[in-house]
Symmetry: C2
Subunit: 280 residues, 2 copies
């Protein structure tokens, strides 16, 4: 099987690493960043660098792992030229806009809308990790709109990398992601901002970070362009989530200002319930 | 050396584990929770359980690892009865109130105000971890108010457990902790609250948590009583920190609502600077 990965960042690069090590799979790379292409070749991430046209000519499967704001344009232009037996898998972090964009395309059946729930706070080909997707969840949207053979191939690819597939609508996906992923990123970015803003003594931030700060602020290291695109495309869900978060912080602040320890404990005890949910 | 650990929770229990394995150190335990005493004996955390009076009679060193709201009363009552060669080490997460409370005591020189920056989101004797303090920072306040021999003994104890000591005033300690530790906890507790409040579908929270949420919400599993006491005692510093945090979240929300990606990216790029500070 010949697979082209378009976008050789953290996600695309990690796909290339996992797939390239499999028997009878050739992985090619496409990226409009020349440095990324060079790095991917030097690292042996891909067998060769291709142009988009070359990738379309030679590939059975195209995997789009570009920033979400470049996704529709890329996907539609590929679908316009695709053959009847090729397929394109999208791996982006928001799903409603891309699913709407391809909805009425003649080749809709050759498109798979997916979102592997894996990542780190790093970016670029050098951030690629073998096994990044092992035992991770992968959300597939609008399964019924993809041709059976294309879906079977996509699922074979995901399963060969150790992913567990979950199926939901693009609307559900974007709503859940606003709470469980995107809000965490906003919370972490602004926590980093607050501490950098007020703690003028960087040596103390560094010295004292072994106190929970390092884990809560980890996501603040993430790529701003990647995330501004995601936030912007999911603001319909993320804005109300952020409002709710600010409201809870305000409520907690009032309890603290009032010296109302039992109210603070009541809130924290409710929050403790996350342990039961996550540590099943 | 005979050491009594008062309060056999995560911190006290971990002290007992590390010190109890050393040659020529006998570790005793004091705890007003009978279950904790039983668990500590069953786990072999301590050589024996003592009453406070027995601990005072037999120990060279007393380590107070009780919740911060019980600390002053305990410490002062011990200092009233202590001999001239005994010493008491406090390990609490806020330092100004305890330092003020002991300031004019006749035995001030036998008191060491410390805060080892280590912990997990778990609590009780079963949460005790051997090596918890290895390579961790330990803040010591008002070093000059402790007798030299007492400070030397305390430092020997901390270093034997692999801690690196930092010295600062109680005011500096509490201010830095508000930003670098306490705010992270509030942020995480309320993130957990927000997600639990809105995501009625717990299975989805669990399924989708591999998206940054698990690390940002980890601290929301922490003990409510421990943290309400810490927040309450440091609210002078924590309230303005929380205000700043809410302000940044509001600013970010406005940029997002306006679809102003370049402003969002500007904030996130500034927040990225935390990478340079933390990953030295």
């Amino acid at each position: 099987m010949k697979i082209s990965v378009i976008g050789l960042g953290l996600i695309g690069g990690s796909f290339a690493k996992d797939l390239g090590s499999q028997i009878n799979v050739d992985v090619y790379g496409v990226d409009n960043n020349a440095d990324h292409c060079l790095q991917a070749m030097e690292m042996g991430l891909v067998k060769n660098i291709l142009s988009l046209e070359q990738a379309l000519e030679t590939s059975d499967v195209l995997i789009a792992a570009v920033p979400v704001d470049a996704l529709e344009h890329l996907t539609l232009s590929l679908m316009d030229k695709m053959g009847d037996h090729q397929l394109i898998i999208d791996t982006g972090s928001t799903k409603k806009l891309i699913c709407n964009a391809v909805e009425n395309h003649a080749k809709r059946g050759r498109f798979v809308a997916a979102h592997p729930l894996a990542g780190t706070e790093f970016s670029g080909p050098k951030a690629a990790l073998k096994g990044l997707f092992q035992n991770k969840k992968n959300i597939i949207c609008e399964r019924e709109k993809t041709d059976d053979d294309a879906m079977q191939t996509a699922i074979k690819i995901f399963e060969s990398m150790g992913m567990h597939n979950i199926f939901m609508s693009p609307e559900e996906h974007d709503k859940h992601m606003a709470y469980v992923s995107h809000l965490s990123h906003v919370s972490s970015f602004m926590l980093g901002m607050t501490v950098l803003d007020i703690e003028q003594d960087e040596k103390q931030i560094f010295n004292l970070a072994g106190t929970g700060f390092a884990s809560t602020v980890r996501l603040a290291k993430s790529n701003p362009k990647t995330w501004s695109a995601i936030f912007d495309r999911n603001k319909e869900n993320l804005l109300p989530a952020l409002d709710q978060y600010i409201l809870w912080l305000e409520k907690f602040k009032i309890a603290m200002a009032d010296g109302d320890r039992s109210q603070m404990e009541k809130y924290m005890t409710e929050a403790n319930d996350i342990r039961r949910v996550l540590d099943k």
